[in-house]
């Protein structure tokens, strides 16, 4: 194998943190190479340097034998390096071909481009109609737009950042087939993920990053997922545990909940019915954008619904706003930490006040009790091991994982009867994720009805008693989580969206 890209001693420091410390590795032509590491291990910084978004402080790269130092992404693209980002940069109101044309320096006439898109999509088994409006596409289809946008440049190296987080298991299978075909044609793929099973199925080699350094490399097929996890984290992980408690009475009952979407490209909730018992965890899976945010809003009270659509112990509460719901111990933690669950520029004390004022008695006759709010913030920081100099620090100064622990801890410590969380461990490192999951399990054990909305199936299988999936605003009927196969879960999530016709031309 000849090395396509060689990276030697790349270093990049940000104020207060060395994101990459003398990172060296190489990628061969036609190789699927995994970059494995926890959040914050430096994967993103590394690929941003390769893609020209960030300039390294030191070190050099060689691409096909010549020095390679892209000063901007267009230079990287010209050199044959393409990247599919985790977050898509697409315009909802434009169609597929228009979106792709926007990303090109010299777009061909629309008709020629549409033909090219069709050709590439057929060759690689990524069905996509160039004339469709991006706003109408599923997350999986949007990703195909991004991939095709890259493939049109005929890249030598394709970087994929967490590509499967928005896909159903069936869609993952199709993506992998495409990637394998690309690799067989000689395109190298740099695959970033922290999902170990995927890396074991797909990748030829893995480079493992921890705290900005390359700590190991291996052939992932020869390692077990547990071994890979330990390499990644650098310590033994303990799986969350729970004592078997039999669920109590039904606490929260949702029946025929419908909620029209607030914006033209949002998802409307349709006829959602389920119930959760005391001490039970209901896992709600589904691909992003299938109504997760809307379901959380309907349960938290941000989007009031028909009174009878949501009942707490038989009492209709659907029309109550967030504050009255908090008063009766129905609490929630949204997905978006900065700007939704917490105000970025406010201190942790102020952010404690944000949801805990009512239940923790942090205000009297409207006047705020700052010492009490500070004490509550400190209690959350202490109990959930939030790493911060103190409660006076702004929420945005915390790392994602630490802020997430704060956001979850803030709700857990308010003794909820019902707790709804959306993506509780998104972007959180493995040990923090484990402690958040443990906290949710402990909470359920103490008799709270917990609803965990997540796109991480492994997480849901680990902690939920029952599992249901959101698909285009509908919820499948919940089934006991134990014994569900990946195949069944995939079908509950809607299978491969419009992919029945998909095939990879061999």
């Amino acid at each position: 194998m000849t090395a396509l890209l060689t990276v030697e001693g790349l270093t990049k420091a940000y104020p207060g943190v060395v994101a990459n410390d003398r990172v060296s590795f190489d990628i061969a032509e036609g190789e699927v190479h995994a970059l494995l590491g926890e959040n914050g291990a430096g994967k993103s910084t590394l690929v941003k340097m390769i893609y020209g978004l960030v300039q390294p402080d030191a070190g050099q790269m060689t691409l096909r034998g010549t020095a390679y130092a892209p000063s901007e992404p267009s230079a990287a693209r010209a050199a044959g390096v393409a990247m599919v980002f985790q977050h898509f940069s697409l315009f909802d109101a434009l169609n597929v071909a228009e979106n792709i044309a926007l990303g090109m320096e010299h777009p061909p006439p629309m008709r020629r481009l549409a033909a090219r898109i069709r050709e590439v999509s057929e060759t690689y088994g990524l069905p996509l109609k160039p004339g469709r409006l991006v706003g109408d596409l599923s997350a999986g289809e949007r990703q195909r737009v991004e991939i095709i946008r890259c493939l049109l440049q005929d890249p030598k190296l394709l970087i994929m950042d967490e590509p499967t987080s928005v896909l159903t298991p069936q869609e993952v299978g199709i993506l992998f087939a495409t990637l394998r075909k690309l690799a067989a044609e000689g395109t190298a793929i740099l695959y970033i993920s922290h999902k170990l099973e995927e890396i074991r199925t797909l990748c030829d080699r893995a480079t493992i990053l921890r705290r900005g350094r390359v700590v190991d490399s291996c052939n992932p097929r020869e390692k077990s997922a547990a071994e890979l996890a330990e390499m990644m984290v650098g310590a033994k992980l303990t799986a969350p545990s729970r004592a078997g408690v039999s669920p109590g009475e039904v606490v929260l009952e949702v029946s025929e909940l419908s909620l029209p979407s607030a914006n033209p490209f949002g998802t409307s909730l349709r006829d959602i019915s389920f119930s959760v018992r005391a001490g039970e965890i209901l896992g709600v899976g589904g691909v992003a954008g299938n109504g997760q945010d809307e379901l959380l809003a309907a349960l938290s009270g941000e989007a009031p619904v028909a009174p009878g659509a949501v009942r707490l112990k038989g009492q209709p509460i659907g029309s109550l706003g967030p504050s009255p719901r908090r008063r009766i111990a129905v609490l929630a933690a949204p997905e978006e930490r900065l700007g939704h669950a917490a105000a970025p520029d406010m201190s942790l004390t102020e952010n404690a006040l944000l949801t805990a004022a009512i239940r923790e008695g942090l205000a009297a006759r409207g006047f705020l009790k700052w010492p009490a709010a500070k004490a509550f913030a400190e209690k959350v920081i202490e109990a959930f091991d939030v790493r911060t100099p103190g409660p006076g620090n702004a929420a945005r100064s915390l790392s994602g994982g630490n802020l997430q622990k704060f956001v979850i801890g803030r709700e857990v410590l308010q003794r909820p009867e019902v707790l709804v969380v959306n993506q509780p461990t998104w972007g959180v490192d493995a040990s923090a994720a484990a402690s958040i999951r443990q906290a949710l399990l402990d909470l359920a054990e103490s008799g709270t009805a917990v609803i965990v909305i997540s796109q991480d199936l492994d997480e849901l299988m680990e902690i939920s008693d029952r599992f249901a999936a959101l698909n285009e605003g509908r919820l499948s009927s919940p089934r006991p989580a134990k014994g569900l196969t990946l195949e069944e879960i995939g079908l509950m999530m809607g299978g491969a969206h419009d992919m029945e016709v998909a095939h990879v031309a061999e």
């Binding site: 669950a341 520029d345 006040l353 705020l368 100064s397």
Partner: protein, 361 residues
């Protein structure tokens, strides 16, 4: 190459130092401008910043003017700052100022020549109500029909000006005024007058109200749930909805309060320094207060200082025109520089500046 790096949190030291640096920069740049105009820059700066307060000859006139001019600016800016903090943009304080003055003066003129102590409190109430009602128009339109409060409140300024003209020429015209436009002089109607409370200070009830508003706003923003909700809504609207803030109620409160305070400022002005309702009664306090609010970083104490500083540049500017023959446009440019530097230097409290070339490995 200069790069800006966002600080993890705003720097406290810079928040305090930035305005001082801005004033210093304004003096340097303004001095340069005055020098180019052929004036002695040191003289010009001294005339603007020093003489109004400490020059033997002028201070006796200028010093009281400081409070007279700063009072309405502060009172209006405090009200505006509440809304601005929440992302609710009342641009029509000038109109609410006029309507407050008309409502308050209207009460006095209707009851003329009734002589009772209760008259002035009644006028105060009417003034606040007048401004409040005028601000409720954009508030209700916004909560009901999602209209843009910036446009509605701004356009209502021009309506208010027409009402003012009509009142000074018609209904409120002084019957004993020999046909001149303008109402009776309230300064000469003791029960309705808002006199200088202490000789030679410029202190009148409007200035007292401004100081009370500063304290009340400080308490509201720092110690009260409503103030917390205002700040939260401005910083993070989605988090505010999650926290259970009633956005419509907040719009009504913020627009209503800023309208009432602008109305009060108008009432105190018409019954005090201005004395009468007239076509040219409003001199732009409502618009200048927007600048004052931002100069003061929407912070009550900051607004207090910004109002005084703004008033000083007005008074000093007039003095410089009069004494040194500096053109009015140069004075305005000087005031513009002050605003420019204050807002420009503000970057320092949120960003680090890094000098040096970006290294490319």
């Amino acid at each position: 190459m200069i790069r800006l790096e966002k600080r993890p949190q705003p720097s406290r030291a810079w928040t305090v130092a930035a305005p001082l640096l801005a004033v210093a920069l304004t003096m340097v740049a303004g001095g340069l401008m005055f020098a180019l105009l052929g004036k002695n820059p040191v003289d010009a700066i001294r005339t603007i910043f020093w003489d109004p307060l400490f020059n033997q000859q002028f201070a006796s006139y200028s010093r009281p003017q400081l409070l007279v001019k700063a009072g309405p600016l502060i009172l209006i800016a405090i009200g505006l700052s509440l809304g601005f903090r929440a992302g609710i943009w009342n641009i029509g304080a000038e109109g609410q100022y006029i309507m407050g003055a008309l409502a308050g003066a209207g009460v006095a003129l209707a009851l003329y020549p009734l002589d009772t102590w209760i008259l002035f409190p009644l006028m105060v109430l009417a003034g606040a109500l007048g401004g409040w009602a005028w601000a409720m128009i954009p508030a209700l339109l916004k909560t009901r029909f999602r209209t843009n409060e910036i446009l509605v409140s701004l356009l209502l300024v021009y309506v208010a000006q027409q009402v003012l003209a009509s009142m000074s020429l018609g209904l409120m015209r002084n019957p004993e005024g020999g046909g001149f436009p303008g109402s009776r002089n309230l300064q000469q109607y003791p029960a309705a007058a808002n006199p200088e409370l202490f000789e030679g200070t410029g202190m009148h009830w409007g200035v007292v109200a401004a100081f009370i508003a500063v304290i009340a706003a400080y308490v509201l923003l720092n110690r009260h749930m409503l103030g917390f909700q205002i700040r939260l809504t401005g910083q993070s609207p989605r988090a505010a909805r999650f926290a259970g803030v009633d956005t419509n109620a907040l719009v009504l409160f913020c627009l209503g309060t800023s309208g009432a305070l602008a109305g009060l400022a108008g009432l105190f002005e018409v019954s005090g320094p201005a004395g009468q309702v007239n076509i040219d009664f409003n001199v732009g306090y409502g618009f200048t207060a927007i600048i004052v609010a931002f100069l003061g970083r929407l912070h009550p104490v900051g607004i207090l200082l910004a109002g005084l500083l703004m008033a000083l540049t007005y008074i000093g500017g007039e003095l410089a025109q009069f004494m040194l023959g500096i053109p009015a446009a140069a004075i305005q440019a000087f005031q513009g520089m002050l605003l420019f530097f204050l807002l420009g230097v503000d970057v320092l409290s949120n960003y680090n500046i890094r000098l040096g070339r970006r290294e490319i490995a």
